[in-house]
Symmetry: C2
Subunit: 213 residues, 2 copies
């Protein structure tokens, strides 16, 4: 049943779920017991109908006048996102962006556990970044296989993005979080989530030009 619900969640709804989670966690911190569609609508700037549709995917029913019970909603959203389970991952590319990601504490809260980093640069190999050891690339296959790791984070320069993905997939990685500005070509059963900072800049640039600032 749960699996069926998950499969029908639209991507934009999934993308908004972390926002609902954060707002609800803020309410919990402030000692509030209930949170309503109107609260979400005002804080996140979404239409109430959108909030209602999105939160329906949690399987929780809100109560009239009160809304959702804060603690139940947090658990339900984490369940939808699979963030109550831990996922082990590796990261390839321990430069500035890779270091920033290794140091981002938010991921651990969401169940993402980066167990090791890899880099082609001998000067970085053997060092420790935010508590994670940087290994040489030729250790990747063995570590991924031995630990049964299925998620890989790519933070290498554009020129080596594809070969990094190929290497990960050959080692057994099934899901790739790609921060490299390259469109990866992967087999159909591999999942790629791309983070493209240029697309955020595109939105901001167009909106600013519309306002003729």
């Amino acid at each position: 049943m749960k699996e069926d619900i998950q499969k029908t969640i639209p991507l934009p709804t999934i993308r908004r779920m972390p926002n609902y989670l954060r707002v609800t966690a803020d309410f919990l911190e402030e000692g509030k017991e209930w949170i309503s569609t109107t609260d979400f609508s005002e804080i996140l700037g979404l239409k109430p109908i959108q909030v209602r549709k999105d939160l329906a995917f949690t399987g929780l029913a809100g109560k009239p006048r009160l809304g959702f019970e804060v603690s139940l909603l947090i658990k339900a959203i984490n369940d939808v996102l699979g963030w109550n389970n831990r996922t082990d991952a590796i990261l390839v590319g321990a430069g500035a962006l890779g270091s920033a990601i290794l140091g981002f504490k938010g991921f651990a809260e969401h169940g993402l556990n980066i167990v090791a980093a890899f880099d082609a640069n001998p000067a970085l190999v053997g060092s420790t970044i935010h508590g994670k050891t940087v290994f040489s690339l030729d250790k990747l296959d063995n570590l991924v296989e031995r630990m049964g790791i299925t998620m890989g984070v790519i933070t290498v320069p554009e020129a080596v993005g594809q070969e990094t993905a190929d290497r990960m997939i050959k080692a057994g990685i099934r899901g790739i979080w790609n921060f490299s500005p390259v469109t990866l070509r992967v087999p159909d059963d591999i999942i790629v989530q791309r983070e493209d900072l240029s697309s955020g800049l595109a939105v901001l640039s167009v909106k600013l030009s519309e306002n003729r600032i």
Copy 2:
């Protein structure tokens, strides 16, 4: 006329524009003169009808059998995104994420020119990161006003995200690119583009769980 066209571009189309641009630039580098809807469709995994709809916003008409002229399309997309113009910006928060952004060469190609960084940490003030000087926060107002800067990049920790935005807006910033995991409350005439790494992780987590890896 151009302004009218811009106002009607849907957000998802704007977000895809940098992808079209990158693929087209690859074609230019490979010495190709023409690029077709089919090329985009195959490389980016989009439906041909989607590609056609998106590229219609450039105002260019493709030629039957040939598609778009590569050099014209690059210029047209850059025009749509305003990336042929230079936008000066400041960045607040020169930690790991801020450093990664200061070092990302892609932004300069898209007209974003970060002129200075600011940080509350005295140990960072006066240092140079990827060629940009880090100033103390109390220099922000004066520099923004003096240089007429309208765009600000926020890469500070969550706890100080809102006060950083308030400070920027007071100094004259009109557009904010927010990498801090906080929902900013700003006046109606201020544009905020939020980059939320958690939403990318959400998508990947849900897709991976659907595949039951």
